[in-house]
Symmetry: C2
Subunit: 229 residues, 2 copies
């Protein structure tokens, strides 16, 4: 454990804020960010930053506009970094400024987290060579082709990296990290605060349990989303 968070833990009497940097960029998937945000924001002394390339509004892959608080130039140090995925997952991998920022914040961050196809951004930045990580099931092979040891687990921790599978898995990631950093008690409290006792209506939310037909139909939806995003 290094950086600001380690400092926060060692100096209990007057802990500095724990700085979260949530990367936002045009075309990001909102739930990738908002799932973990709803948990992380319950950490003591959480200081939340939304970092974009400029101060202009950022559009999600569904067109919702959110406002950054910081830019990739003004904020290059954080305790916990979160990178969400995108409806068109290839697009951010070609954005040199996003990759530069990922490398810069990685130098001091205690945790580098990703949700869904966000892991691809770390991989494209050269941060995940030989590292173990998970991602959305539809892009597992692509991530593996970038030199990552891709897991099919829902949450993977390979310090300082912590990755979640597709979209909704970010909630599980954030609760696991909460238990890791602050202990089980706070994690249970935050889970109960968001009443996270899920009842998915079907048992086919994972490619391991879904039929081939369902997977093909879903890949078509994802391809259409990518084209529209």
């Amino acid at each position: 454990v290094t950086g600001r968070l380690a400092h926060a833990r060692s100096v209990r009497k007057t802990p500095p804020n724990v700085r979260f940097a949530f990367l936002i960029y045009d075309g990001f998937t909102a739930l990738d960010l908002i799932g973990p945000y709803e948990v992380f924001s319950g950490w003591p002394d959480a200081e939340l930053h939304y970092v974009a390339k400029s101060h202009d509004p950022v559009r999600t892959d569904r067109g919702l506009r959110v406002l950054p608080t910081d830019t990739t130039k003004s904020l290059e140090e954080a305790d916990l970094v979160l990178v969400p995925g995108a409806g068109n997952p290839l697009k951010p991998l070609e954005d040199e400024e996003l990759l530069r920022w990922a490398r810069a914040v990685a130098e001091h961050a205690t945790w580098m987290t990703s949700v869904c196809t966000g892991a691809g951004i770390y991989a494209a930045a050269g941060l995940l060579n030989g590292r173990r990580a998970t991602t959305h099931w539809a892009v597992r092979e692509h991530l593996a082709s970038m030199g990552v040891d891709v897991s099919t687990d829902r949450v993977v921790i390979d310090r300082p990296f912590a990755s979640a599978a597709g979209v909704s898995a970010g909630i599980d990631l954030a609760l696991s990290l909460t238990a890791e950093v602050h202990g089980e008690e706070l994690a249970r409290q935050l889970q109960l605060a968001i009443e996270y006792d899920p009842e998915p209506p079907f048992d086919s939310g994972s490619p391991e349990t879904a039929s081939d037909e369902l997977k093909m139909a879903t890949l078509q939806i994802l391809a259409r989303n990518a084209a529209e995003a």
Copy 2:
């Protein structure tokens, strides 16, 4: 089934868009909205609107700013309305313009959905008298005191109302409604698209399984959030 959505279903050849109105107001809880949004936005011909009292940026209960697309004055008709809850759940109940808008859109909407403490807004608007609905576990008694037949279920459908329990339950609500309106196939596809195969780290995400001690500690967190929001 009445209104624009019924029309969309009866005239298959040239269906009009299905209009979603997501109410946003200062202090709303982001995941209440973003969970269902990530599912609903996958409906065919979905037209997403974010409705606030003005065009100014709206702050979530954690300070994230999002931009509305419409105002409560400019958009008073929609097929599916979603009202999220708030970190301070009592505050929006005193906002006459929000209550007026809820009554106005209820006149034609096919579905009036709420997540978490959002059900209180419908109740305060006088829309839920004798109706069955669910809400965040911490405010069940308060909602019951407003004349609502409060359920402890995670998702409750009492047409045209469809309500979800606390925060994360909105995802289950949206998938259930998708199955109801478009059939199981699309619901399964959208569940797989967001890889919704949850693995909550603890079994205490519901007040029915949590200890009294955990509930008390969580209520303290919620009270602090309400004071800060």
